[in-house]
């Protein structure tokens, strides 16, 4: 059994979170608040470090004057707390949204559209290839919204929906596998690091 008080705190907090599985209770609620508070504190410290490393140091220590522009934009984001000039906070938001969209434009078009279409232009000479191409088309038909799904289109779209459900089933299985890994990690910490029943 561990003699490190931090390991004990870790173990007890884990049990607190797990106690939710029995019922919502004051112990869980307490741990929940500790967790939210600790995460807020960690976020605050990272935020402070980011301001120092990404803004203050480059501008003041390294003398990179170009950093004045993002710093001013960053300060403008806080204008929302001062009613008469709260409109100023929309500018940095607009720049963040615009830059994000612009950045995504090339990457998303190239990697998620062109490369994927290219990978699906398959010769229809095997069952797998035919299934792949027809499957992609069926799912795309399901996601057409400008027409009511009637007649043969409805059947084709239903096929697409079924394929989606199969994918979700696979996904569900994967997620269960992931969740068991997380439980496994928690139990390894409790039985290994805390109680010392198993060797890690």
């Amino acid at each position: 059994m561990s003699t490190d008080p931090w390991i004990w705190i870790m173990g007890l907090l884990m049990l607190g979170i797990f106690s939710f599985l029995i019922k919502e209770n004051p112990f869980y609620r307490w741990v929940e608040h500790v967790y939210v508070g600790a995460a807020a504190g960690y976020g605050l410290s990272m935020g402070y470090n980011n301001i120092i490393n990404q803004a203050w140091d480059p501008l003041v220590v390294q003398g990179k004057l170009i950093y004045i522009i993002p710093i001013i934009l960053g300060i403008m984001a806080y204008a929302r707390f001062i009613k008469p000039i709260s409109w100023l906070s929309r500018w940095p938001m607009a720049i963040i949204s615009g830059a994000g969209a612009g950045n995504a434009l090339y990457g998303a078009t190239n990697s998620s559209l062109v490369a994927q279409v290219k990978a699906n232009l398959l010769p229809l000479n095997s069952f797998n290839n035919i299934f792949m191409v027809v499957g992609v088309l069926a799912v795309m038909v399901y996601f057409l919204f400008s027409r009511d799904q009637k007649g043969p289109v409805k059947h084709f779209a239903s096929g697409g929906r079924m394929l989606l459900m199969v994918t979700f089933g696979v996904s569900f299985g994967n997620v269960i596998m992931g969740r068991i890994s997380l439980l496994l990690g928690a139990l390894q910490s409790i039985f290994g690091k805390w109680l010392g029943i198993i060797s890690l």
Binding site: Y42, G43, A119, N174
Partner: protein
């Protein structure tokens, strides 16, 4: 209430308790169930095997403690293999908690003198800005991370000499549990620069990563804890992931059993009223 109705309404706490017992038991008494290798793990392993001593690899740690149980064992197994091969590693992170995991991996090797910091390994720290940061780092590594985690200049470090953009790394590996992650690396860096990208992912994200593997944008993929276990066995150093595979298999059996019982009970209880009427 009939037997089948009862089977549908098993108290969830009983299932939780069973799951904990079933997962905990093989941790204490391992069963040694066999394990097969998936194609994506073999491809991942082959890419690493091609590396020569002195080659440089970038490892991006894009995960947090909440998902670490599924992905961190992958990072441990791959880093260990790379270090054994004499490959140099630069760690970077676009998730706040990432640098902490890099420290955990590096520290024992630095303490034992097996690795020299700045020469064999470096922790470039956390770079905020998500997708934009990944793009910026991809195109200008030193410019986007001028200082390492401890505030030292990276430009003067031997490991970073000659590194302009991510193409200068022989392999880039992203260990990931969400966003920003695989999609950002593929869209922002792999697509424009054509880097050699490998991914180690929490199993939840695997279906989302598969199209990138199929299109050849990601060369190899480790899938959750199982991927880590497969990699540990392939590289000849069984560790914490391989030890957990028995527990995972038994956990899956319990879940499969629960799904079967639930579905059989559902259909049987639907059938019963008809029988009563007759």
């Amino acid at each position: 209430m009939s037997f089948w109705d009862k089977m549908q309404k098993i108290d969830r706490r009983i299932i939780y308790a069973l799951l904990v017992i079933v997962v905990a038991f093989p941790l204490i008494r391992p069963l040694g169930l066999p394990l097969s290798y998936s194609d994506t793990t073999l491809k991942f392993f082959d890419e690493i095997e091609k590396l020569q001593p002195g080659d440089r690899v970038l490892i991006s740690l894009d995960y947090a403690p909440s998902g670490a149980a599924d992905v961190h064992p992958q990072t441990v197994a791959v880093s260990k293999h790379l270090i054994q091969k004499g490959v140099k590693i630069a760690f970077v992170s676009f998730w706040e908690a990432g640098p902490m995991f890099a420290e955990q991996i590096m520290q024992p090797y630095l303490d034992s003198g097996e690795l020299v910091y700045g020469e064999d390994v470096v922790n470039l720290g956390y770079i905020p800005g998500a997708n934009s940061a990944i793009r910026s780092f991809g195109f200008d590594c030193v410019g986007s991370a001028p200082k390492d985690l401890n505030g030292k200049d990276t430009a003067s470090m031997p490991i970073m000499q000659g590194i302009k953009d991510c193409r200068d790394f022989d392999v880039v590996i992203d260990f990931v549990m969400g966003s920003p992650g695989t999609a950002a690396w593929v869209q922002q860096v792999q697509g424009p620069l054509g880097i050699n990208l490998l991914v180690g992912s929490v199993v939840v994200e695997v279906p989302a990563s598969m199209p990138f593997v199929q299109a050849g944008q990601v060369k190899g993929l480790l899938q959750g804890l199982r991927g880590a276990a497969e990699y540990e066995l392939l590289s000849g150093s069984a560790g914490i992931a391989a030890a957990g595979m028995d527990a995972q298999s038994l956990g899956h059996l319990l879940i499969i059993g629960s799904i079967l019982v639930g579905n059989v009970a559902y259909f049987m209880s639907k059938k019963q009223p008809k029988n009563n009427k007759q």
